[in-house]
């Protein structure tokens, strides 16, 4: 067994959220530059340049990339030979979130009671935590502060198997089309296919973590990603919804086994500020 102190979890989670809030990942910056080169509509092209400029200003540390510093989503891949010592793991993740949002001047956007009181918890906790046990003696921590302008535009469908590839494409493209300008295009689209009701939604969220331009290892799914990107971009929504060729910077699909009776599909939309950071300890 390898002992890992929860203090290390606290410090790492705090550092990753601060990084994510102020520094746009390289894959997103590269995709934005490529989009600028392809965009022919003047207003949309100007928006793309402005987004790049915003990333530069934020990287100087005065202001985060976006005022919506997101819900704190954390993925832990925990090696089965690891033992956490010195405290409660869940509380450690929350303490990391608390410190990042307080010390990094990040906006706290979580309400305790979703329906009635809706009172802000004041420290952006609790985090949304996904834990997987994997072989080994390391812990991979991935954080993604998820904005909800785009989260609100996400959707899930339990399609019949007969819907096939065409049915999946139609549902994804319709979902992005219906979202229009709301989720801050150009968006990044995470698609989950298979699993069960809640599993497919998690697949879609995990798909958003894959660097833009890195395709699904299976050729059939990689081809599906290309088809989806092409159809989404032919919607013409464009940057900020002002009309243009680039509506999505990238589409990632993650699939998993499912039941003979179903073809679950989930579409998790992220704005162009697809913030994520990861490390292995």
């Amino acid at each position: 067994m390898r002992d890992i102190s929860v203090d290390m979890i606290i410090a790492t989670v705090a550092r990753l959220f601060t990084d994510a809030a102020y520094r746009l990942p390289d894959d997103v910056l590269r995709a934005l530059r490529a989009a600028s080169d392809l965009e022919t509509e003047a207003q949309a092209a100007s928006v793309l340049k402005t987004i790049e400029k915003n990333a530069l200003v934020a990287s100087e540390g005065g202001y985060p990339l976006c005022q919506d510093c997101g819900m704190a989503v954390v993925f832990l891949d925990v090696g089965q030979d690891v033992r956490f010592v010195g405290g409660d793991l869940f509380e450690a993740v929350n303490e990391g979130v608390r410190r990042a949002y307080r010390d990094g001047y990040l906006r706290c956007s979580i309400v305790e009671d979703p329906l009635y009181e809706r009172r802000n918890t004041g420290d952006n906790t609790p985090a949304k935590l996904h834990i997987r046990i994997v072989p080994g003696r390391e812990v991979k921590i991935t954080v993604t502060p998820k904005g909800f302008g785009s989260e609100n535009m996400s959707a899930l469908a339990m399609l019949p198997p007969a819907a096939g590839e065409r049915g999946v494409i139609e549902f994804v493209v319709e979902t992005v089309g219906r979202a229009g300008p709301n989720p801050c295009p150009p968006v990044v689209v995470g698609v989950g296919i298979g699993s069960d009701f809640e599993g497919v939604a998690e697949l879609a969220k995990r798909a958003l973590l894959r660097p833009i331009g890195e395709h699904n290892p299976l050729p059939s799914y990689a081809a599906l990603e290309e088809k989806l990107l092409e159809e989404i971009n032919s919607l013409g929504i464009g940057a900020a919804g002002y009309g243009g060729r680039i509506t999505a910077l990238g589409v990632s699909v993650e699939q998993a086994p499912t039941h003979i009776a179903s073809l679950p599909v989930a579409v998790n939309i992220c704005c162009h500020s697809n913030r994520h950071a990861a490390t292995v300890i």
Binding site: A42, A58, N182
Partner: protein, 178 residues
């Protein structure tokens, strides 16, 4: 493209002259309010209380800034999605609000009210909040401080870059997404 300089309070003549797609640099006072502040403003008006700010010619920015670092008037600030404020907007437009800043489409009811009263809806680009913050010169909370980032705020802005998304004739920049 030519940028049009406008100041608040926005006169009806100025707002009715604006057209879809025009780029604007806005200076003056804007009021920051989003979901919960809109609910409270509307409930207070319903109880017959006087409005908490002067609505004649007012511009409301749908936003909730991040906390200000020491020495800065405000943190990152950018538009939130406007449709969530649609149920409240016609009442406020009827009371004199002449400009709204947000992102995304509006309901037919809001657009009809804008046409009737000569109001205009500006788009600020979502996700460029670090840049937009540099147009803010002062900020203070008017009320609802308990809401944290959702408090009702008064901002003084200088040359905030906006675009006319829906004008007072009902024209919209969002072609296929009403």
């Amino acid at each position: 493209m030519k940028q049009i300089r406008i100041v608040t309070p926005l006169t009806e003549i100025a707002s009715r002259a604006l057209r879809v797609g025009e780029e604007v640099l806005l200076s003056g006072v804007v009021y920051v309010a989003r979901d919960e502040a809109h609910r409270r403003i509307t409930e207070a008006l319903g109880r017959g209380e006087p409005p908490s700010f002067n609505m004649e010619g007012a511009v409301i920015f749908y936003a909730g800034p991040s906390p200000a670092r020491p020495g800065k008037p405000v943190g990152a600030i950018g538009p939130t999605t406007s449709y969530r404020m649609d149920p409240y907007s016609p009442l406020l437009i009827g009371m004199g609000v002449r400009g709204m800043i947000g992102k995304g489409a509006r309901s037919p009811e809001v657009v009809a009210s804008m046409v009737e009263h000569g109001a205009v809806y500006f788009g600020a680009t979502g996700g460029i909040a670090a840049l937009l913050a540099s147009a803010v010169v002062a900020s203070r909370v008017i009320c609802y401080e308990d809401l944290g980032p959702e408090a009702l705020r008064e901002l003084e802005v200088r040359d905030m870059p906006l675009i006319v998304v829906i004008d007072s004739t009902g024209g919209s920049i969002y072609r296929k997404w009403p």
